[in-house]
Amino acid sequence: MEKTWIRFLLPEDEYKRRNMLVFFAEAAILQLVVMIVLLVISRFEPFPIDSVLVLLWMLFGTIAYIWIRYILSGMEFAEIMTEKAYRRERKVIVIKSTSFLLIMCAGILSLYIFGMMSVPFIEGLMVTFIAALLLFLTNYISLKRSYQKNKELIG
């Protein structure tokens, strides 16, 4: 295991660990480039965007970059090698996403009933639906990529 303080963020498996380090490094370099570009722009003309918003976008962008790279790498479902295992895992993903949607809907409904919701009910539902859809899509894409990669490695 590499001697680094980010050990707690790294997986046990060697291949996954190395790739995760690469993704973190790529994200850090991209962040550095964006920061330099923003710094240069801010020297020439008054910055038109709120600095907190810029920081939030950079935070979101960094996390999204690492997340997308991880999903597309096909490393997440490293043990899914057969069609049967793939189908079983796909079912688990559908159940997980549906359960998430139902639990969140129930939570929002109860908050609405007790008058603790500051946003309209339909908005809360839409956010929940988008979150559930994202959860399903990311897991599904990751599973499909993993299965495609693993299929060729069976021996």
């Binding site: 498996d13 060697e14 291949y15 996954k16 490293a78 990669k149 060729e152 490695l153 021996g155």
Partner: protein, 64 residues
């Protein structure tokens, strides 16, 4: 890096899953090593050699 891991493992009638459990990596990592698509660390090479009862030379040295 080409290697003899797959041939040796099959000679021992060991599955990828069994080897992966032995050396504490995923089955995907073993598959990638066997295909020569991932170069393992020396630590993992030694673990694989021990699990298969071979030397590093037998598994990784100048495979054609």
């Amino acid at each position: 890096m080409k290697n003899n891991v797959k041939i040796t493992r099959m000679e021992l009638k060991m599955t990828q899953e069994q080897l992966s459990r032995h050396v504490r990596v995923t089955r995907q990592t073993i598959g990638l090593i066997e295909k020569g698509e991932y170069n393992p660390t020396l630590q993992l090479c030694v673990a694989i050699a021990k699990a298969l009862g071979k030397t590093l030379d037998d598994l990784f040295w100048e495979v054609r």
